[in-house]
Assembly symmetry: C2
Homo-oligomer: 407 residues x 2
């Protein structure tokens, strides 16, 4: 990842069915009252597969099942339901997750060993299996180039579907990547991600696919926060169909791998930013850019403390350039800090230089915070450690959304 | 601290001037527009003194000054201003903090070596020293049994002053302790505390006073959270006048020390709970009681994760017994957890047994959450580790308060 941001491949419209060899479907099976709640993604043949899962020790039944399934390094179908997380549901929940696997294997005609399962929604309520027994075969009948329908069907509190695609040339052939993700709460770094799915027609072995996915997740989904809570269900899956027809990537030293890695990171960063933009109740997307830290680890510590500070997030909502709260967050992060060396710029307006506030610039900084997206840049003045992440503001709407009904 | 809660001394009305040998005053010097903003606490003679300070690496000027002053183990006067934190103010801020020390030493007639200083309020704005040059001598003229006035003068966004007193018998003599604290945001465990001040007429040496204070803070102020942010200014000071006239406590093995420690913890826990009850925007005080953890450390990890979860806190606001969010917080805490062994009771209503939710009890739990105070009890079913802490709900009013103006 030494490449400059300037040469990162562009993300365009597209979805999990943009790469060759992938079909998808989305539909309504009855877990939710009326909105789509069931998605299927199926590849033409068994495909090299990789996945990252939540680091939460309380792991939903579908996470337990898919963790085992992915060990083979191959998958051909992924079934995802929204509206019910099948988490904290005990042995019955595990049986239900396995039944989703079996229903999908039969409905799409693949081996049960090649089916992954993911769920998202309310915790602690048994899955309505009758709805899934009817719904999985029904939705499977509409498999086709319908990645957008699948993206719609995995949403929970999201305001909009999150999709994108990237194309790069590898070995003289166009290679495509497509993805989808869902938000919009219980989102925090140091876990895998929320529910997300990326497909590609690149050809690469499972171990290399896992390496690429873990690296891209570390630089994207693991750098966003909506509320500091991590989910019991986080899953991201990568399926690589190889349909692009280029000579398979042989390893991390293959010149094509770097291009593929860049493209994958561009796509996952795009999806991760969409998560934050659609964070529960959010009105603003804020990039936190830490530079000048003593080490890379210190940069991440400082960045994550700012990313999750309720006081910084409420100040962003109020368009208040309250740099004292930013310094207080850095101060509690564990990162080495010398207040006399810190510089802070908000929306491009430098409000702190050498640790001293510039009151005459606060009005300009506040004006810059009216934008829907802006950057909080913190330079610690100690070394070359750098880190970038994304967060959203904390608003009354977040409180209203999360103090509402269980269902 | 092996004593049962049942024998903990009762906290009664009272303040820092309840113990013998202490005078205090509170008044308005002009940092705030109209409300009291300057407090003085003065002992009859130089007194054994102890203090705990913020663990934030960005430390306000008064913290830097008082950290040096307390090394002597003796103090006679404490000056506290509210409305301005004198934090992130560079060399000029340090000069201002020292001038507050000198102004106080002159106004109350003690050596400058015996003066501690604390500030709370907005970060990054120079102190209005003219106001303090006039105000400190003026407020000093009203020193007397006015602990309540001092408690009023240290408030910032607090809705009410926080005071209390405890009396225990040590060596056949009544020993009194009195205290005050201020809230109401940037409050989180693993720091010392917010601004707080405790006095006693017990007789004990500085090292023993420090031991007692650190122990009581660990069990009270370090177990509350309002918003997960820690302040640059947190300070708690204990002054022990010895005016009670009992034989001085000789060490931790002195039978009277245990009584004193209990009394001090009862008082600091009382003040810490008041902080949470008055948490910014809070409508509820929630006790988090973790039991059955594999270790004491695990119990604290699990408890602190619940304590600071925005999703748990918003659910409390909405009176939703959303135990899935509680389990998700425990799961990300790093504590060992086996979901199949977890039990959760909310407001005395068991909603999870052996990891399985009891849907039929949610209505009763929701009803119990209508109370202004309730307990979330989590038993991990793994060992004997236990931890108790206090938090408040996260409300729209918190967002409104913290997205408002800088001043």
């Amino acid at each position: 990842m030494s490449r400059q941001a300037g040469v990162r491949p562009a993300v365009t419209a597209g979805s999990v069915t943009t790469p060759g060899g992938v079909r998808a479907a989305g539909g309504h099976c009855g877990i939710k009252a009326a909105r789509p709640d069931l998605a299927l993604v199926v590849t033409e043949a068994p495909a090299p597969a990789a996945a990252c899962f939540t680091t939460n020790r309380v792991q939903a039944a579908p996470v337990q099942v898919s963790r085992g399934q992915i060990r083979s390094g191959r998958a051909q179908a992924v079934v995802i339901n929204s509206g019910n997380a099948n988490a904290c549901t005990g042995e019955a929940g595990l049986r239900d997750a396995w039944e989703m696997v079996d229903l999908t294997a039969r409905a799409v005609g693949v081996s049960r060993d090649l089916v992954l399962v993911a769920s998202t929604g309310v915790i602690g309520v048994p899955l309505p299996m009758e709805a899934l027994r009817r719904g999985i075969p029904a939705v499977a009948t509409s498999l086709g180039p319908y990645g957008e329908a699948a993206a719609e069907a995995i949403l929970t509190t999201d305001a909009f579907p999150k999709t994108g695609a990237v194309e790069v040339e590898v070995g003289g052939r166009p290679v495509r990547l497509g993805g989808m993700a869902k938000g919009a709460g219980m989102i925090h770094p140091r876990m895998a991600t929320t529910l997300s799915m990326v497909t590609t027609d690149a050809a690469l072995e499972p171990a290399l696919a896992q390496r690429a996915l873990s690296q891209s997740v570390a630089r994207s989904f693991n750098r966003v926060s909506v509320d500091g809570d991590t989910s019991t269900n986080d899953t991201i899956v990568l399926l690589a169909t190889g349909a692009a027809g280029h000579p398979p990537l042989r390893g991390a030293a293959d010149p094509g791998f770097d291009l593929f890695q860049e493209a994958l990171t561009a796509l996952t960063e795009h999806l991760a930013r969409l998560l934050v933009r659609d964070g529960e109740g959010a009105t603003k997307l804020i990039e936190i850019a830490v530079t000048g830290a003593a080490t890379e680890e210190d940069a991440a510590r400082a960045g994550e403390a700012i990313l999750t500070s309720p006081l910084v997030k409420t100040a962003c909502y109020g368009m208040e350039p309250n740099w004292g709260r930013i310094l207080a967050a850095v101060g509690r992060s564990g990162a080495e800090v010398d207040p006399a060396r810190v510089a802070v710029a908000i929306g491009g307006v430098q409000v702190v230089a050498a640790g001293v506030g510039r009151r005459e610039r606060l009005a300009a900084a506040s004006a810059a915070m009216r934008a829907a997206e802006f950057i909080i840049a913190v330079d610690l003045g100690l070394g070359s450690g750098a880190w970038t992440g994304w967060t959203c503001d904390l608003t009354e709407a977040y409180v209203r959304l999360n103090s509402g009904s269980l269902t």
